[in-house]
């Protein structure tokens, strides 16, 4: 276990390193000129352009900028060089937002709880509802319930969040006020406010992703129910409930855990379309805008965090996998 963790963390760190180099390289290969877009609707004057470029150290060669970025993460740095207005950025410094001079760590600290709230709350909803419905469908295979559930699942699985989201907002929020307007209220500030602000995104995510999980878990459960060990469980004289829950579900849930783990891990880095649909400035939407603005530090910070969540989620999935399935030994296979 310990060796596994060390190995995977090292692998993760080298992944992050490779990603950071790639993002930097892409940025400098492209035509992006962040300074040029910083004078509002106007074209910057040459003086303005030069002052911004120098201050943000964009006039230095890319490898030097990269080195200084990396140094900043570990020991902090001063942005603005010799300028009397130079900005202190203490370690771990992820740079400053080119446009507002806000520390990128602050930007991430603000946007991360929003994305986490959307994703984790939504995931609880769709994994539970989706798997629940799917399992029930599998048990009642061929019944009217199964047919309705499967049909509904298919319908929702083929819709998009911006469509469902817009319809929900229009019908239940803007026009009737039945559900609260999506907004982010920190849980620590008001648990109820947090819940209220997140409910509509969760419902939308729930509707769309439940469908996926329902389909998956139905298929998985049907397959598991035909397994020999389920027949053994019945031959032992077990009642329905322990057969389904202790024997079938445990086995059927394994691939769902994997997919849910990777889904959630991927989404924690930002769900741009969902965030945009519900007007929530989480990591995804912020990153998309930062890309538009050629705002490298913000893009870099969010990309690194997203990648980190993905790496972490694969490690967690592997650990969970080994907990669920005793046949899987951590470290020996080096993961999946």
């Amino acid at each position: 276990m310990f060796r596994f963790l060390i190995k995977r963390v090292l692998l993760g760190v080298s992944t992050l390193f490779a990603i950071s180099v790639t993002v930097f390289a892409l940025f400098f290969m492209g035509p992006a000129d962040p300074a040029a877009s910083m004078c509002g609707t106007k074209q910057c004057t040459p003086v303005q352009h030069e002052r911004i470029t120098t201050f943000l150290e964009l006039d230095r060669p890319p490898h030097e900028q990269y080195a200084s970025y990396m140094r900043g993460i570990f020991v902090g740095r001063t942005i603005g060089g010799d300028s009397p207005d130079a900005i202190e950025c203490p370690a771990p410094c992820l740079g400053i937002n080119f446009r507002t001079y806000e520390q990128v760590s602050t930007v991430i600290g603000r946007t991360m709880p929003i994305t986490f709230s959307i994703v984790l709350g939504g995931a609880v909803l769709y994994v539970l509802i989706g798997t629940g419905l799917g399992m029930l469908s599998a048990i009642k295979r061929g019944s009217i319930f199964d047919r309705i559930a499967s049909g509904t699942a298919l319908t929702f699985a083929s819709t998009q969040i911006f469509f469902i989201g817009s319809v929900l907002l229009l019908v239940f929020v803007y026009q009737t006020d039945l559900l609260p307007l999506p907004k982010y209220v920190p849980f620590t500030e008001s648990p109820l406010g947090w819940l209220g602000g997140m409910i509509v995104p969760w419902i939308a995510l729930g509707l769309i992703n439940s469908a996926q999980y329902a389909r998956l878990s139905r298929a998985q459960m049907i397959e598991t129910l035909s397994e020999d060990f389920v027949r053994t469980a019945r031959a032992k004289g077990l009642a329905i409930a322990p057969i389904y829950f202790r024997h079938a579900l445990r086995a059927a849930v394994t691939p769902i855990v994997t997919i849910a783990g990777l889904d959630i891990g991927g989404q924690l880095g930002g769900v741009a379309i969902t965030e945009t649909t519900f007007s929530l400035n989480g990591m995804g939407r912020t990153a998309v805008r930062a890309i538009d603005e050629a705002n490298l530090p913000v893009v870099m910070g969010i990309v690194l965090f997203s990648a980190m969540f993905l790496v972490l989620s694969t490690i967690i999935v592997d650990i969970l996998y080994s907990v669920i399935d005793p046949r899987v030994k951590l470290g020996t296979s080096g993961g999946h």
Partner: protein, 350 residues
């Protein structure tokens, strides 16, 4: 054939039909037999012959929605056909238990052997986990698993194939059932292990004095352990009698075929095998008349009713073998002659 008056298991005219997308499958079509406590019935046949379906029907393990059961299955006098599942499940594991072909898939991969045994015991016994654990270790020990204390906490994948099947047997016997159904218990195992398992089953039967049904496609296995033999083909009984009767003077061409496919029992390894040509019938489209006739090399000898009439299961008349029944249109004499001239001559041991 045993002659006792009160067999523990009495199956009469059992019919099992499945509804599938393609139509109705007649998996078992009018099967009658019985097993006494202390006795072993070997059910022999190829896959699709209905032998496994019959055993599952006894256990009540079919999907009730898509399966139609007819006839009577009396377990200790109680008819399990049509019995509601919540009552039937109380018999399962306690009065009758089952061992499956592949212990690797039949045991739950995510739970320890011990936990699965404890669970099996506690379904039918209101005891603490500690008591159940004691019982489980006792059973593991009884089936010959060394270091049962340690093995108790291991997972199925940590066991060898033979040990796994021993564990499976321990689990099935943990509640001391009166009827044990072993469905091809050695097929998935190494040849060297097969005999050990069969021996174990034999020992245990003596000890527990239960009725045993041994399902196999291997007549050789049957000849070693069974008291009675039921040969099934296409969902019907081809031949039924004591092991001795069937092995000594097999009456059905299908039985001959099975005998001939036993390489271990042939004297001359160079001699021609007499395998049964063709495939078992589709149970969706059962051939008219005798189910076996399309594959039977003697069906045409008579030119008679083989492809029109279903042969009845009848007692032998020319020899005094009470209880030895066969379903074949060939005249008895011709069968006996053919067997003696063509089949036993190729070297089938008696």
């Amino acid at each position: 054939m045993s002659t006792a008056n009160n067999p523990y298991l009495q199956v009469s005219n059992l019919r099992v039909k499945f509804e599938t997308h393609d139509g109705t499958v007649k998996a078992v079509d009018g099967v009658t037999f019985s097993v006494e406590k202390g006795k072993t019935l070997g059910i022999v046949g190829e896959s699709g012959s209905g032998k496994s379906v019959t055993s599952l029907a006894i256990m009540g393990l079919h999907n009730p929605k898509s399966t139609l059961l007819q006839g009577e299955i009396l377990v200790d006098g109680r008819n399990v056909v049509g019995m509601p599942d919540d009552k039937l499940r109380l018999l399962r594991g306690r009065d009758m238990a089952m061992i499956f072909q592949d212990p690797l898939t039949a045991l739950h991969p995510f739970y320890t052997i011990g936990r699965q045994l404890v669970e099996a015991y506690r379904v039918h016994h209101k005891v603490t986990k500690a008591v159940a654990k004691k019982r489980a270790i006792e059973m593991l020990d009884r089936v010959g698993i060394p270091q049962p204390q340690r093995r108790f906490g291991q997972y199925p994948h940590e066991f060898s194939g033979g040990m796994r099947q021993r564990a499976m047997i321990a689990m099935s016997l943990i509640n001391d059932p009166n009827l044990l159904i072993a469905d091809e218990p050695t097929t998935a195992l190494d040849v060297t292990v097969q005999a050990q398992i069969l021996d174990l089953l034999n020992d245990l039967q003596r000890e527990f004095h239960s009725a045993v049904i041994l399902i196999t496609h291997d007549l050789g296995v049957v000849s070693q352990v069974a008291d009675d033999v039921l040969v099934m083909y296409g969902g019907r009984v081809a031949e039924y009698g004591t092991a001795q009767q069937v092995m000594k003077l097999p009456q059905h061409p299908y039985t001959w075929g099975l005998l001939a496919s036993m390489p271990s029992l042939r004297g001359d390894p160079e001699a021609d095998l007499l395998p049964i040509k063709g495939n078992p019938p589709s149970l969706l489209n059962v051939p008219p008349g005798c189910v076996f006739h399309p594959r039977c090399r003697y069906a045409m000898l008579k030119g008679g009713p083989c492809d029109r009439e279903v042969p009845e299961l009848l007692q032998l008349r020319t020899v005094d073998e009470p209880g030895h029944t066969v379903a074949c249109h060939l005249p008895e004499r011709q069968r006996i002659e053919t067997y003696q001239e063509e089949i036993s001559s190729v070297g089938v041991a008696q």
